[in-house]
C-alpha cells in the first residue's frame, strides 16, 4: 500500500538530529578557518557524540543490540547529518552500513560473539571495506555488459591452514579509523569476504589522504587512506558467510550516498533562502526579485524530486516484494537515484552559490564547500557518463 508517512521513530530521529546539527554541528563544521583550509580533519568529538546517539549501530537489528533501522531510516538520518557536515555523514554511514550487513548477514555466530560486544560498547569502533565497486565502470561496456572476470585487487592463498593476503587498495573510506576491515579477496579461483582486525601485522594503513599536490587530490569525502596487505595472515574462521554481501553493500551504499548528497544540496538551499531574505538590492530583499524566485523554485523542485526518488528506492530495497509484485519497475533504482541526485544537487549548490554573489566562491564561506562537495558526489566512484550507460543497459535489456 503506497504510504509516504514516516514512522514515529523516523520522525523522532529526524527531529532530534535536526536539533543536534543546528546546535552542535554547524558552528564547528562551518568555522571560517576550517572552511579555508584545504585539509578538513574529521570532527572527532562530534563523530563520537553522533555514535553515542546510536547512529553507529543504526542498521544492526534490535535483537542484536542495535537500533534496527532500515535503509529508509538511514537515508532520513544521513540527510540530516549531512546538512551539518557531509564528511561526518559519510564516516558514520559507512560504519553503520557495514556493521548492519556484517552482524546481520555476513558474520558467523563465532564472529558475532567475538566482535559484537566490542562494537556496541566502544563508540570509536569503526569498520571499513577494503575494496571498490567492481561494477562501477560497467557502463563503458555498453551495450554488451561486463563479461570480464570480476577484478579484485586483494589476492590470497592458503599456506599451512592459514589464509595469506597480499595487495593494496586505495581511497578506502574509514581506513585510518577502522578497527575491523571487511575485505573482498580472490582466493584460488573463488571470491571470498573476510573480516580482518586492523592491528594484524600484515596490514599497513597509509597516511590519511589530506594534502593536495600535483599527483594526489582530496577528491573524496570522509577519512580515506590506502591499505596495504603484505603477507597478512588470517584464519579460515575469518571467512564470511556469503559473497553477495559485496553487491548488497554497494547497492545500499549508493543509496546512502545519495541521501548524504541530498543533505549537501539542502544545506546550500537553506543557506540561500536565509541569505536572500536579508540581502537588500534593487529596492527590495533579493528573494522578492523574480530572477531569484525562479532560482529558488528550481532548487525546491530538484530537492523534492530527489528525496521522493531516494525514499522510493530505499523502500524498494527494504521491501523486495515491491519489485517482485510489479509495484515498481525492475530497474537499477539505486543507480538512477544516485545519478539523478548527484546532478540535481550540483545544480542546487550552483544556484545557491549564485544567490550569494561573490561570497559564493569565497573559501571562508560555506557555499564553495557545498559546490565542491556536490562535484565530488558527481564523480566520486565512477564517471557521470558511464553511470548513465549502466542505467541504459538495464533499460535496454539487450541480453
Amino acid at each position: 500500500m503506497f504510504n509516504m508517512n514516516l514512522t514515529s521513530e523516523q520522525l523522532e530521529f529526524r527531529s532530534m538530529l535536526r536539533e543536534f546539527v543546528n546546535e552542535k554541528v554547524k558552528i564547528p563544521a562551518l568555522n571560517s578557518d576550517r572552511l579555508q583550509s584545504f585539509h578538513k580533519p574529521i570532527l572527532n568529538q562530534l563523530l563520537t557524540e553522533i555514535s553515542e546517539l546510536g547512529l553507529r549501530s543504526l542498521s544492526i537489528p534490535e535483537e542484536l543490540g542495535g537500533v534496527g533501522g532500515d535503509l529508509l531510516t538511514s537515508c532520513v538520518v544521513l540527510e540530516e547529518i549531512s546538512v551539518g557536515d557531509a564528511d561526518l555523514a559519510i564516516t558514520i554511514g559507512e560504519t553503520s552500513l557495514l556493521a548492519g550487513l556484517f552482524f546481520e548477514k555476513l558474520a558467523s555466530d563465532n564472529q558475532k560473539g567475538k566482535y559484537l560486544k566490542r562494537f556496541l560498547e566502544d563508540s570509536q569502533f569503526h569498520l571499513c571495506f577494503a575494496g571498490s565497486d567492481t561494477n562501477a565502470s560497467d557502463g563503458w561496456h555498453y551495450p554488451k555488459g561486463k563479461n570480464q572476470e570480476m577484478d579484485i585487487t586483494l589476492r590470497a592463498e592458503t599456506v599451512s591452514n592459514e589464509i595469506v593476503i597480499n595487495g593494496s587498495v586505495d581511497f578506502i573510506i574509514n581506513g585510518p579509523i577502522s578497527d575491523l576491515i571487511i575485505a573482498p579477496v580472490k582466493l584460488d579461483q573463488d571470491y571470498k569476504l573476510f573480516i580482518i582486525e586492523k592491528y594484524n601485522s600484515g596490514i599497513k594503513c597509509g597516511n590519511e589522504i589530506s594534502n593536495i599536490n600535483p599527483t594526489e587530490t582530496i577528491w573524496h569525502h570522509g577519512i580515506c587512506s590506502s591499505l596495504e596487505f603484505s603477507d597478512c595472515r588470517i584464519s579460515r574462521d575469518d571467512m564470511l558467510n556469503t559473497f553477495d554481501g559485496n553487491i548488497e553493500f554497494f547497492k545500499r551504499k549508493l543509496v546512502q550516498k545519495a541521501a548524504i548528497n541530498l543533505g549537501v544540496g539542502r544545506a546550500a538551499f537553506e543557506a540561500a533562502i536565509e541569505y536572500t531574505k536579508i540581502r537588500y538590492q534593487g529596492g527590495s530583499n533579493i528573494i522578492e526579485h523574480q530572477a531569484i524566485g525562479k532560482m529558488i523554485a528550481d532548487m525546491a523542485i530538484k530537492i523534492e524530486h530527489a528525496r521522493a526518488m531516494l525514499w522510493k528506492t530505499a523502500w524498494a530495497i527494504d521491501n523486495q516484494n515491491t519489485i517482485s509484485d510489479f509495484s515498481m519497475n525492475n530497474l537499477p533504482l539505486e543507480i538512477i537515484t544516485s545519478s539523478f541526485t548527484a546532478e540535481a544537487m550540483q545544480e542546487v549548490a550552483h544556484l545557491s552559490a549564485e544567490c550569494f554573489g561573490a561570497m559564493g566562491v569565497m573559501r571562508d564561506m560555506p557555499l564553495q564547500k557545498y559546490l565542491e562537495d556536490s562535484l565530488i558526489f558527481l564523480n566520486s566512484d565512477t564517471q557521470n557518463l558511464s553511470t548513465k550507460l549502466r542505467i541504459a543497459e538495464a533499460v535496454a535489456d539487450l541480453d
Binding site: 563503458w140 587530490t217 577528491w219 549564485e354 566562491v361 569565497m362 564553495q368 557518463l385
Partner: protein, 395 residues
C-alpha cells in the same frame, strides 16, 4: 568579410602563446594549490610578463605602450588564459584601467599616473566599486531608491577630498599601486548624479588594504578590501567632473571600462575552454575504459564535440565583438557575449570533468581547478544580474 589576422595580431598571439606555455602553465596548478588568499600570488611571473609587454598591452603608442587594438587584446587573453585564467586576469585587469586613464583622465593625470605605470613592472591597477551593501545596485541602480549603490563618502576639504568607507572584493586590491574609486560626493541623490570617480594611489594617507579574500577559483588573482579612514585625496585626482556619476565621468562605454570588461571575461573564458579541450582530448586518448580508449566511446566523442562546438562559437562571438569595438561600434553584443561566455565556460569545464570521472579528478588537479575557475564567471561578473543588464541594453 575577412577573418584573417594581420601580422601584428599574429605576432602578439604567438608571443603570448610562448609565454603562456613556458612561464604560466608550469606554475598554474602549483600556485593554485597554495593555501591562503595572498600566497598563491607570485610577482615574478607578473614582472616577466610585464617585460614582454603583457601588463601595458592596452596603453597607446604615444604614451609608450604597444598600442594594440581590441582584437589583439582578445587574442592575447585567450592565449594567457589557456595557461592560467587567473594569471591572465591579473595582467588584463591593468588593460581595463589603462584604457580608462587614456580616455578619461586629463593630461596632468596621464603624466602623473601613466608614466609610472609604464616604467614599474609591479605597478598594478584596480577599480573599487563594490561595497558590502552595494553590489548589483551599482550596475542597475533602482530608480525607486536614490540611496542605493555605493556609499563610500567623499567630502570636500579645501583642495582635497576626505574619503571614508570601504570597498570589498576589489580586483588587484592587495597588489595594486593605483585605484579608481567610486565615491558619493552628494549622498542625497542617486549614484548617477551624486557619484564621482577618484584616482587613489596606494600610499594615500588614510587608505589601507583590509582583508585579502581567499577564493575557491582564480586563486592567483587578488581580491581585497580597501579601507578609507579620512583618506585625503587631492581634487586634482578627480576624473572628469564632480557629481556626474562615475560612469559618465569615465565616459561611459566609450572609455573601455565596461566595454573592455565584457570582452576581457569572454576572451579569458575562451582560453579556459581551450585548455579544457586539450586536457579532455589528451586524457580520453590515453585512458582505457570498457576495453578501449575513452575517446573511442560515442559518449566521450559527443562530449568532446560539444565542448569544441561551444568553444568555437564563443571564440567567434568574442572576435566579432572585439572587431566591433575596434570599429567604434557600440551595441548590446558585449554584455550578451559575456553572458554567453558564462554558460559556455561552465558547460565546457563540467564536460571535461565528466570525461575524467573520479579517477581523472584524483590524478589531475587541473580538472577540478578549471571548474573552480569557471565558477567565478557567475559570481564576479556574469550572474543573473548581468543578464538583466543585457536586457536593459536591448530595450
Amino acid at each position: 568579410m575577412d577573418f584573417s589576422l594581420n601580422d601584428e595580431q599574429l605576432s602578439w598571439q604567438n608571443k603570448a602563446r610562448n609565454f603562456s606555455d613556458s612561464k604560466i602553465k608550469p606554475i598554474s596548478v602549483p600556485r593554485d594549490q597554495i593555501e591562503g588568499g595572498f600566497d598563491p600570488f607570485d610577482w615574478s611571473v607578473i614582472e616577466e610578463g610585464s617585460k614582454l609587454g603583457f601588463r601595458t598591452l592596452a596603453v597607446p603608442k604615444e604614451w609608450g605602450g604597444p598600442g594594440t587594438g581590441f582584437v589583439t587584446q582578445a587574442l592575447v587573453m585567450m592565449e594567457l588564459a589557456r595557461g592560467d585564467s587567473a594569471i591572465c586576469k591579473a595582467f588584463s585587469q591593468n588593460w581595463k584601467w589603462s584604457h580608462l586613464i587614456v580616455n578619461a583622465c586629463n593630461e596632468d593625470q596621464k603624466k602623473r599616473f601613466l608614466a609610472p605605470f609604464i616604467e614599474d613592472h609591479r605597478y598594478m591597477l584596480g577599480r573599487g566599486i563594490t561595497e558590502p551593501n552595494a553590489g548589483c545596485d551599482n550596475r542597475l541602480p533602482p530608480k525607486s531608491d536614490p540611496k542605493a549603490g555605493y556609499r563610500l563618502k567623499a567630502e570636500r576639504d579645501g583642495d582635497d577630498w576626505i574619503l571614508n568607507g570601504e570597498k570589498t572584493f576589489i580586483a588587484n586590491g592587495s597588489v595594486g599601486s593605483l585605484f579608481f574609486i567610486d565615491a558619493r560626493t552628494d549622498p542625497n541623490v542617486d549614484i548617477i548624479h551624486g557619484g564621482t570617480l577618484f584616482l587613489v594611489p596606494k600610499d594615500t594617507p588614510g587608505f589601507r588594504i583590509g582583508k585579502i579574500f581567499n577564493k575557491a577559483g582564480w586563486r592567483f588573482y587578488q581580491n581585497a578590501e580597501l579601507i578609507f579612514e579620512d583618506a585625503r585625496v587631492p581634487n586634482d585626482n578627480v576624473i572628469g567632473q564632480v557629481g556626474t556619476g562615475s560612469v559618465k565621468a569615465a565616459g561611459g562605454d566609450t572609455t573601455g571600462g565596461d566595454l573592455f570588461g565584457d570582452l576581457e571575461l569572454a576572451a579569458n573564458a575562451v582560453g579556459v575552454c581551450d585548455d579544457a579541450n586539450d586536457v579532455a582530448m589528451s586524457y580520453a586518448s590515453n585512458k582505457m575504459q570498457g576495453g578501449k580508449k575513452l575517446v573511442e566511446h560515442q559518449l566521450v566523442q559527443l562530449a568532446i564535440a560539444e565542448m569544441n562546438m561551444l568553444t568555437e562559437a564563443l571564440r567567434s562571438f568574442v572576435l566579432r565583438v572585439a572587431w566591433e569595438h575596434d570599429q567604434g561600434s557600440r551595441s548590446a553584443n558585449g554584455v550578451l557575449m559575456v553572458n554567453y561566455s558564462t554558460d559556455v565556460v561552465l558547460k565546457v569545464t563540467r564536460l571535461n570533468m565528466d570525461i575524467h570521472g573520479a579517477l581523472g579528478c584524483r590524478s589531475n588537479p587541473r580538472v577540478d581547478k578549471l571548474v573552480r575557475d569557471a565558477m567565478i564567471w557567475c559570481h564576479l561578473a556574469g550572474d543573473s544580474n548581468l543578464r538583466l543588464k543585457a536586457f536593459s541594453k536591448l530595450n
